[in-house]
Point group: C2
Chain length 151, copies 2
């Protein structure tokens, strides 16, 4: 079962946008993410609907953050990505009338909900600003050996 790294990838994009002076093109972002510009535009198009980023066409155009770094949590971004399920495991639902399946699902659902709630609670407490601060800290720490972050 493969893991969905879109949230991680989007955070990557947003922090790079936060670092930049002006708008960043989908082509530049695609370079960082080693993917196609259209993929970037699709993802960021979704975030724009939620008011997290804005885009401009034409010369000097591109993407920029639309909100303050302090006000955006991982949870906001998770929602903007469509709130995909956070767990890789799930219940069977092929035999809803089977009492065995009902017993199994009841027991597992409790555990699943607890884990999911904990993860989302953590997401609420992490802001783009806190990530940005951590990045700055790392940059200073690494300044002697490497003055720029690279792709």
């Amino acid at each position: 079962m493969k893991r969905d790294s879109r949230l991680s990838g989007v955070l990557h994009l947003l922090l790079h946008m936060a670092e930049a002076d002006g708008p960043v093109t989908s082509e530049a972002l695609a370079g960082m993410m080693q993917t196609n510009p259209v993929v970037i535009r699709r993802i960021l198009g979704g975030l724009r609907k939620e008011g997290l980023v804005q885009s401009e066409k034409g010369h000097g155009g591109g993407w920029r953050l639309a909100r303050d770094l302090e006000s955006v949590t991982l949870y906001d971004i998770h929602l903007a990505l469509g709130a995909p399920g956070v767990l890789a495991l799930g219940n069977r639902t092929e035999s809803p009338g089977c009492l065995v399946e009902q017993a199994v699902n009841a027991a597992m659902s409790d555990a699943f909900e607890a884990a999911e709630a904990l993860l989302l609670e953590r997401f609420h407490s992490i802001t783009l600003a806190s990530l940005s601060r951590d990045f700055s800290r790392r940059r200073k720490r690494n300044a002697s050996t490497c003055d720029q972050h690279r792709h």
Copy 2:
């Protein structure tokens, strides 16, 4: 991102085996799971390596539980299935030198680990016996309207 319902499915199989008098064939189990007998044999073959089930060939053969219901937890079964990742979300690892990625991953890893630990802890506390008792309870409750669990 599709969810892995193997654990749920295996519990279904094991509880049905617990209910049965003698060995149950992979064909019968495949009928319950609406899949192919070979798929069942592959899955149960893995569990046999861990000592959870045993199989017999030939006439009257099939699969049966190898351990006491009280002694088997969901965690044991999860391990026997190869301990697949429990989270659907994960970190990007395409640019390990990028400090942005490092900051993002550090923050998310904490949250991921906490959620995973909580889920696995819950798995430790659920035994096949407790599921079986819950099933019996449901069967009694439903006795008036339906005397058998069906597929």
